[in-house]
Assembly symmetry: C2
Homo-oligomer: 228 residues x 2
Amino acid sequence: MPENQSIRVSVDAVVFGYTSREGLSVLLIKRNIPPFRHAWALPGGLVHNEESLEEAVTRELQEETGVSIRYLEQLYTFGQPDRDPRNRVVSVAYFGLVRPDAFRLQAATDASEAAWFPMKSLPALAFDHATIVATALERLRGKLTYAPVGFELLDKTFPFSELEKLYQTVLDRPIDRRNFKKKILKLGLLEKTSEKQRHEGSGRPGDLYRFHAERYQALQHQGFTFEI
Amino acid sequence: MPENQSIRVSVDAVVFGYTSREGLSVLLIKRNIPPFRHAWALPGGLVHNEESLEEAVTRELQEETGVSIRYLEQLYTFGQPDRDPRNRVVSVAYFGLVRPDAFRLQAATDASEAAWFPMKSLPALAFDHATIVATALERLRGKLTYAPVGFELLDKTFPFSELEKLYQTVLDRPIDRRNFKKKILKLGLLEKTSEKQRHEGSGRPGDLYRFHAERYQALQHQGFTFEI
């Protein structure tokens, strides 16, 4: 057993934001310490000796961006020997999906700024963080096909088209709308409300739905198969 | 940035074995160093400074069991502060599925023995290794529903029932045989051969299949949805 292991452990957070107006975005910080000083990067940092990995990522995210998220899901561990120019750092990455407008950004500690960047126009990122973001996006897209993802990001009641838009935006491709609706409704994830959507112009007012939180949690736990 | 981080990084390997006769098993080693000396554990150990995580897990597995596996998939990183009684060790776990009869076991370094244990009668395991095995089994089962898994473990040509058996064994539950066959054939993963299975008794000889390696690799890459 090598007693002289000199590897450090860090955590990084890929926090995706979604709104129907702005689409998909990623929360980044501007580094105020070397290396990659003044470059944009994922929020994250070294794990403290006494905290769990989940506590570390929650703390780093809060410190550097002001964003408090209880639940981030472990994504993947990035451990290439040369990924940090200072010394060997193995980073355990986490990801989550939130509504950006639920948070007020506040940069501090190792970050001079914190900001949401549209997924389609990310700046150059420090370290291997572009790879981490790409891995997280792939995982998020994969997840859409076997778990209900992101329903909680929609308004309390919403037209079905808003859910379609969420899925199309994350997947970045059109979906088979008729099939999609049939499948979602079959899963029992949505309840039709008695409210109707008011249109600006003429046309028949559309149905509004609300999502069924208990059923959602049950399905998130047990999983399902879901071809989009 | 805490300069005094005292966390070490290890890797652990969950290697599942499958044969139609013996079912699902797990490769374990008997530790010959403390802590948990003489207890059974997953093969694994500390990462060397210059090697990648994948190189580390391949090396540890080879050293402790004699088993050489090029490709293990990253499972999850286990980082609870108290998971190792000596000091803080964050372990990146990997998993794979192989034919046990393809390997000759040879324990060495930190292991005094290496052996396959039936999944259903595992001994008490060191550290949090029981949790790691349970997580790997859950991942393997989940994977069956969205990726072709384990076809390469079957004989070169096989009756369809052997593939059913593999799936039933890993899932540990009966599957809808008719539906399963329909879906598998639709995916184009199997080719019917001109060979027939010879039965001991009477009865019509059954068809033998071979799996379509190229199609398999394509599907493993692109994924699919697959309700069993």
